[in-house]
Each structure stands twice: as structure tokens, then as C-alpha cells.
């Protein structure tokens, strides 16, 4: 009986041991599984972000990209790009020739305008000539007839009628009185149009016109504005597809028509993809598609580009081209402002709470308030910042009433203040009492004791709070929505010159790009790139802070 607890039955002991071993193993397995799940979640969330974001920096860039870099950022091999441009212009020439030719038969407005212009010019020519008034009137009415016949040929959708009208125009071709005048243009145009009428089914001209517009749009997307065209005012319209992935999208739109047809009553619309070759079968345009398909690489010359300047370039056309330089600077600026504001304040508050304040009801209330502050939604901070800093406080100091980096930094500082206070409080509290005793016993006052002994010993812990705050501040959107953020703009250097101005930040631009307009679908790489940059920025800041902290801690431990 007395021996029982000391020497239990061997079988019971064995079973218990096995159970204990099993429990231990189960616990280890559970913990390992949890760690693995976290790692996996991180991988699932971050890996695609980073992978796709990387495509903003490393991607196959076309000749259009190199042209854009050269003309917008003055970067690249001027001669090499010029040679390339010559090559691609040569390769694209047949495309534009085919387009122009086909366009004449479909988009007849230009031809009509040409006919009217010819008539007016002919009239002027007649006035300048030394001919009898009667002749002049006759010639004028002839020209009018030519114009009207030609216009009638353009307007009809009936092939025979068109050919008859063209015939009426052309029977005057041998008229000696028209020789050497601008009126000869009518005959050239009529012959041209006659050939088009042979191939094009005029009855379907409206459909062709619609499809042609799509084709032209795709070609413009691929190659940029056609040669000899006016330079478009928007930078994003001045270049074709700068990236191969974008080029492939345009190419797909060029080569296949996509229509939605109703399958039947109550059914959803069905997407039908028709090759353009089939759509334009038998017309002059049909050869265009195999031509582009086979020679598109020659027309765009894609090559791998490493666009590291993505991290320093201003954006063009609202993030259509260019990089995220101003966003990085702006994010750093308001983060640094927030930390500059919150760090000293937080540490002093924590020092007060630990070192000076007794454990009274008031102090408990203050502590509760700080904890509550940490849980307040960030948009509330944003609205507070708007009402307090933007509208009230900063104008008192002569700043214009409007969002500014300073207001945003202060708002973010308030947001991270509780984090810093709590971390600092813990860190200061955990400094061994013996350090303080030693300093006091050496005759140090309380302030000196805090500054020379407690604070340095608590600094690694305080820095942990600061690291958390940096990540938080850099990634917040809501507090700066009304206080600091702006979507467009260029970077200001040095950064502090932008204190009184609104600033771009990575978080806000990601949001703006996503909700702002159709741009997001056009530049997905830029969205991912921006998010990747934000992640990397926070990562770099964290790593730097962790290195500093661990060095400090190592020095404190005496290694």
C-alpha cells in the first residue's frame, strides 16, 4: 500500500508512458502543423503577389517600350532604337496599306468629303482660267454631275447600281476639257472604288464598318498611332503595346472577333469567337490577318527588359506607363513623419506610466483609453485627422487648408501611438529592477537613471513596437484618404519639400488604381507591381529594424 505510488505495476506504467508519449507527439505535431499552415498561407498570399508583381519589373518589352523609354525618360540606345524603328516600320507598312485600301470601300465618308473637295477646287480652277462663261457653266455642271454620280455610287448598297453610277462617271474620262484639271481625281477615285465594289459585299457594309473599327483599334493598340497621323495628346495613346503580354491581348482581339448571341429565350448570352479571316473572307483585308499573325514579332521585336527604374520613375498617364517612384517616396515620407511624431511621444508616455504614475484609478483609466485607441477603426482616425489637423490645426500655422503629407503623417502617428506605448511600456517594465537600483545607488537622479540605464536596456523592446508601427503606417489607406493622399503627381525632391503638399502613397495608389477607372484591367502588372513594392518596402524596413534591434540586443547581452 505504502509502496504503491513508488513502484506502480509495470503494465500500468507502460500504458501511461505510451499515452504520455502519444500526447507529447500529438502536441508536437499540432504545433508543427500550425506553423506549416501559417507558412503555407503566407506562401499562398504572398507568392502570387510577388511573382506577378515582379512582372512589372522583368517582362518582355517590345520596341514600343524602348521607344517610350527613349522619348519619355530619355533612356536607352538612341541609335539602336532608331534602327529598330526603321525595321518595324518597314514590316508594318503592308498592314497599313491593306487597311487603307479596304477602308476606302467601307468608310465612305472620307471619299464623299474628297469628292466635295474636288468639286470646290475644280470650281476655283475654272474661275482662274480664261474660258468663256458658257463653257465654264457647262463644265461646272459636268463636275457637279460627276460628284453626284460618285456620291450616289458611294451611298448605294446595291452592287449593280453602284457599278452603273461609276460607269456614268467614267464615261467622261476621255473628255478633253477635263484633261489636266483636278477633276481627273474623280476618275481615279471611281476606278479605285470600282475595284473595291468587285470584292466587297456592299449589303454588309455596316457590319464591315463595325468590324473594321475593331480591327483598327486593335492595330492601334498593337502598333500605336498609324504613321503620318497626328500625335495624340495623351501619352498613353502615343505608343502601341509596350509589353508582350499586352500585345498578345491586342493580337487576340485583332485575329478573333468576339460576339455575344442569344442562345434562346431564357438562356444566357453565348460568347462566339470567329476568326477575323473568316469574317473578312474574300475582301481585300483578308490577307492582313495571316500577315500580322506570322510577322508580329518582326513588327514588335519583343525582348526581355529589366525595368529596375520602375522603383524610381514617375508614372505617366496615371500609372499607364512609368513606375512608382513618387509612391515610394510618399510612403516613406509619411511613415517617417508618423514615427517621428509617435515614437518620442509614445516612449515618454510609456515612461510616465511605468516610472512616475502610481497605480491609481486615473492611470488605469488612461491605460484603458490607450488600449481602446488601439482598436479604433482606421477610418475614424482618418476623419479625425481631416477635422483636426487638416481643417483646424495646420491652418493655424499658416498652412493652406487641404490635405498634406504633414497632416497624414500626424494622423498615422496617432494611429500607431497606442502600439508604441504598449510595446514601450512592456519593454520598460521588463528592465530588471537591479539596473535601476544600481544607477540610483551610484547617485543618479531618476531622469538620468531612466535616460542612461532603463531606456537603453528597453530599447530593443521599444524598437519592436516601432517596427510594428512602421508596417502598420506604411500600409494604411483609410487614415490618409482625406488627410494626405493624392493619386497623381510627380515626385518632389528632396522629400521634405512636399510636407505641405498632398502626396502619393503605395497603399492609396493601389486602391485608386483598382477602383478608379478602366485602367486597372489595362495594367494589371502595375497593380501587382505596386502591391509587391509595398510588401518589399515593409519587408526591407522590417529587416533593417530587426538587424538594428538584434545588434542592440546582442550588445546588451554582451556578445
Amino acid at each position: 500500500m505504502t509502496n504503491a505510488p513508488l513502484t506502480p505495476e509495470p503494465t500500468t506504467s507502460g500504458r501511461r508512458l505510451r499515452l504520455r508519449g502519444l500526447l507529447d507527439k500529438g502536441f508536437t505535431l499540432l504545433a508543427g502543423g500550425a506553423v506549416l499552415a501559417i507558412a503555407l498561407a503566407l506562401l499562398v498570399v504572398l507568392a502570387p503577389m510577388l511573382w506577378r508583381g515582379a512582372s512589372a519589373v522583368v517582362f518582355p518589352g517590345t520596341v514600343e517600350f524602348r521607344r517610350m523609354q527613349l522619348s519619355q525618360f530619355n533612356r536607352g540606345d538612341r541609335v539602336g532604337v532608331a534602327v529598330e524603328l526603321g525595321e518595324v516600320a518597314e514590316a508594318r507598312k503592308p498592314v497599313y496599306a491593306l487597311l487603307d485600301r479596304f477602308k476606302r470601300g467601307i468608310a465612305t465618308d472620307d471619299l464623299k468629303e474628297d469628292a466635295r473637295r474636288l468639286y470646290r477646287e475644280f470650281g476655283k480652277q475654272l474661275d482662274g482660267r480664261d474660258t468663256a462663261a458658257a463653257d465654264r457653266a457647262e463644265l461646272r455642271s459636268l463636275a457637279k454631275r460627276l460628284r453626284d454620280d460618285f456620291t450616289a455610287a458611294l451611298e448605294t448598297t446595291d452592287k449593280a447600281a453602284a457599278q452603273a453610277a461609276l460607269g456614268r462617271v467614267l464615261q467622261n474620262a476621255e473628255d478633253a476639257r477635263l484633261k489636266g484639271t483636278v477633276a481627273e481625281g474623280f476618275f481615279a477615285m471611281a476606278r479605285d472604288y470600282g475595284r473595291i465594289v468587285e470584292t466587297v459585299d456592299l449589303g454588309h457594309r455596316a457590319e464591315y464598318a463595325k468590324a473594321l473599327a475593331e480591327v483598327q483599334e486593335s492595330i492601334r493598340g498593337l502598333f500605336g498611332p498609324p504613321p503620318n497621323a497626328e500625335r495624340p495628346p495623351l501619352v498613353m495613346d502615343q505608343y502601341g503595346a509596350t509589353r508582350w503580354d499586352a500585345a498578345e491581348k491586342h493580337l487576340d482581339r485583332l485575329l478573333t472577333a468576339e460576339t455575344w448571341v442569344a442562345g434562346g429565350p431564357g438562356e444566357t448570352l453565348q460568347r462566339v469567337r470567329t476568326p477575323r479571316e473568316q469574317q473578312f473572307a474574300g475582301t481585300d483585308l483578308a490577307p492582313l490577318f495571316p500577315l500580322v499573325r506570322e510577322h508580329v514579332t518582326k513588327m514588335l521585336q519583343p525582348r526581355w527588359a529589366f525595368y529596375w527604374q520602375y522603383f524610381i520613375d514617375d508614372s505617366l498617364s496615371g500609372h499607364y506607363f512609368g513606375g512608382v517612384g513618387p509612391e515610394i517616396l510618399g510612403t516613406l515620407l509619411i511613415t517617417v513623419l508618423a514615427i517621428l511624431f509617435a515614437f518620442p511621444l509614445g516612449v515618454i508616455a510609456a515612461a510616465y506610466l511605468v516610472e512616475c504614475a502610481s497605480d491609481s484609478r486615473t492611470v488605469q483609466l488612461i491605460r484603458t483609453c490607450i488600449n481602446t485607441l488601439a482598436g479604433v477603426p482606421s477610418i475614424v482616425f482618418g476623419l479625425f485627422g481631416l477635422a483636426f489637423f487638416v481643417v483646424f490645426l495646420l491652418p493655424l500655422f499658416g498652412l493652406p487648408q487641404g490635405s498634406s503629407a504633414l497632416a497624414g503623417g500626424l494622423t498615422l502617428g496617432l494611429l500607431v501611438l497606442p502600439i508604441i506605448i504598449r510595446a514601450s511600456e512592456e519593454a520598460i517594465r521588463s528592465v530588471p529592477q537591479t539596473y535601476k537600483e544600481a544607477a540610483l545607488a551610484l547617485g543618479a537622479g531618476r531622469l538620468r537613471c531612466f535616460l542612461t540605464v532603463t531606456l537603453p536596456a528597453a530599447l530593443p523592446g521599444i524598437l519592436t513596437g516601432a517596427i510594428l508601427s512602421v508596417s502598420r503606417a506604411a500600409g494604411e489607406t483609410a487614415p490618409i484618404l482625406f488627410t494626405a493622399a493624392v493619386a497623381m503627381g510627380s515626385s518632389s525632391w528632396p522629400p521634405w519639400s512636399a510636407l505641405a503638399k498632398p502626396t502619393q502613397t503605395l497603399a492609396y495608389s493601389s486602391y485608386h488604381l483598382a477602383v478608379g477607372d478602366r485602367l486597372a484591367s489595362l495594367v494589371p502588372h502595375n497593380q501587382y507591381g505596386m502591391v509587391m513594392t509595398l510588401i518589399l518596402l515593409v519587408l526591407v524596413l522590417n529587416i533593417a529594424a530587426i538587424v538594428v534591434r538584434s545588434r542592440m540586443a546582442r550588445r546588451l547581452r554582451g556578445q
Binding site: 502610481s358 537600483e437 544600481a438 551610484l442 547617485g443 537622479g445 537603453p456 546588451l556 554582451g558
Partner: protein, 287 residues
């Protein structure tokens, strides 16, 4: 209380007179003025309360310069409390109240007008656990001196070397002065703490069980150090180790339950204690 104020050396004086004969060499030479006259620390009916509870009660004793005074007694008897009262380290504990008088160099340390940092520089302290700052060896020693106004590199270098030599640590750390003090061994750390306390040029050195966290070899070195420091400093040491008290001290005070039971020459306390309680304690029958 008024009585003790009028006659500050009431308790120690007779004990000393009685014990002078057996070991006269330990004390001031024959014919010198009575040691009581130049006592450096003088406690007259001193009591300290933590709220309602008394930490030490009515302590009246005198501690003489350039002597090692050991305070022994069972745990919780108030010996550390008394030691920490001398440089007012008990101020850190909320709700502390004192009565009576405690003088260092003729100044009442509980006078509200006292310059506390100055007092603590005069009365250095070494704690139970070695507690060097997480700074370099050099900065540890220079810490107190820096805010005494020593700024120049040369002066600090001199002070650091002198104090480390005085603490018998110089030879061991002279090549690693700028490495962290936490890299030293426990015994070295404690000697560093002694050097650090010496740097503010104190008159008195309070040691609160300085060897309780150390191994016998390190303890031996600290004891040797105490013996050499005795010639320049007044040392008050609290210890649980009675052999240590017997080895290092000139005089010993026995505390029990917050009261001073007996105070006198060490040899007397350990061989012919006047009180039964003391005898029981030093012979190990109690405590």
C-alpha cells in the same frame, strides 16, 4: 527615544570597552581618541516602517571608519533593510516611513533638504546579485564619475584604471575594457560592481550579501578585496555566512526580528557573546 538621542553610544560603548583588551591591534592604537567619537555612521533609535509593519526597530549603533562591520542575523531580521536605510535605497518602496535619527558624517540622511545623489555617492552600495549595466566594462566604471563632472577622456581613463585596480579586476579586463560587462563571470561582475561603486569616491561601502551568488573561489577573491579596501573605506557588509563575517569583519552586529540584539568586536560575538540569543545563532542552534 530621547534617552538614546542624548546618549548615542550607549549600547556599543560598554561592549567595546569590555572587548578592547583581547585584540587591541584591530583597533585604533592605544591612546587614540575613543572610536565612538569619530564614528562615521551613527544611528540613534532609528526605526523604519513599511506601512504599519516595522522593518527595523529602534536601532542604535555606531559604525567606525576604515573598519569592516558585518551585520548578521536570520532571514527577515531587517539587516538588509537597515543597510539600505543608510543610503536611502528604501525610498524606492512606496509607503516607507522612518523614525529616529541616522547620521552619516554628522548629517541626518532623512533630513528632507539632503542632497540624495550626493549622499549615495558618499555611500556606495554593492548588491546581492552582481548587477553591472548592460554597457561596456569601461562605461560601467565611468558611469558614476561621468555625472560628477568628469568629462575628459584622460581623467576618466585614469579613474577607470584606478578603480579596477582597487577592485583587483584590472589585470583580467584591461584588454576588454570596451566589451560588454555581461560577458564577465559572476565573480568578475561583482568585483566590477565594487569598482563601479568606488568610482564615485565614496566614504562608505555598503555590501548586501555580495557573495551569496558566487562560488567559493570568487567569494575568496571578494573577501581578499574587502580586506584590502578596508584601509581606505568604511565597509558595512550584510552576510548570511557566519564564517565570512568572522573572516572579514572587525565588528559584528547581530540583528533579530528587526532589532539589534548585540553589537561588538567580531571575536567577542563569535566566542563570548553576551546574550544567549546571539550564542544560539552563532553556534547554529537557532536561525
Amino acid at each position: 527615544m530621547a534617552e538614546t538621542l542624548d546618549e548615542p553610544s550607549r549600547i556599543p560603548a560598554p561592549a567595546e570597552a569590555a572587548l578592547r583588551a583581547p585584540k587591541p591591534t584591530l583597533f585604533a592604537p592605544e591612546g587614540a581618541p575613543s572610536p565612538a567619537a569619530d564614528a562615521i555612521i551613527r544611528s540613534c533609535g532609528f526605526s523604519l516602517f513599511y506601512g504599519q509593519k516595522a522593518g527595523v526597530k529602534n536601532i542604535t549603533m555606531e559604525i567606525y571608519p576604515r573598519r569592516v562591520t558585518a551585520i548578521i542575523g536570520p532571514s527577515g531580521c531587517g539587516k538588509s533593510t537597515f543597510l539600505r536605510s543608510i543610503n536611502r535605497m528604501n525610498d524606492l518602496i512606496p509607503g516607507v516611513r522612518t523614525e529616529g535619527r541616522l547620521e552619516v558624517n554628522g548629517t541626518d540622511v532623512y533630513d528632507p533638504r539632503i542632497n540624495l545623489p550626493n549622499l549615495r555617492q558618499q555611500v556606495g552600495m554593492v548588491f546581492q546579485k552582481p548587477n553591472p549595466f548592460p554597457k561596456s566594462v569601461y562605461d560601467n566604471v565611468a558611469y558614476g564619475r561621468r555625472f560628477q563632472g568628469a568629462r575628459s577622456r584622460g581623467e576618466l581613463d585614469e579613474v577607470v584604471e584606478k578603480c579596477l585596480r582597487a577592485a583587483a579586476l584590472w589585470e583580467e579586463v584591461k584588454d576588454t575594457l570596451h566589451k560588454s560587462a555581461l560577458a564577465l563571470s559572476g565573480g568578475q561582475q561583482q568585483r566590477l560592481c565594487i569598482a563601479r561603486a568606488l568610482a564615485t569616491q565614496p566614504k562608505v561601502l555598503l555590501m548586501d550579501e555580495p557573495c551569496s551568488a558566487l562560488d567559493p573561489i570568487a567569494t575568496g577573491r571578494i573577501e581578499e578585496l574587502i580586506a584590502t579596501l578596508k584601509s581606505d573605506y568604511t565597509i558595512v557588509i550584510v552576510t548570511h555566512n557566519m564564517q565570512q563575517a568572522a573572516r572579514v569583519s572587525d565588528r559584528t552586529a547581530f540583528f533579530c526580528l528587526g532589532e539589534l540584539v548585540e553589537y561588538g568586536l567580531t571575536s567577542t560575538i563569535f566566542t563570548k557573546p553576551a546574550k544567549k540569543q546571539t550564542e544560539d545563532y552563532v553556534t547554529g542552534r537557532f536561525g
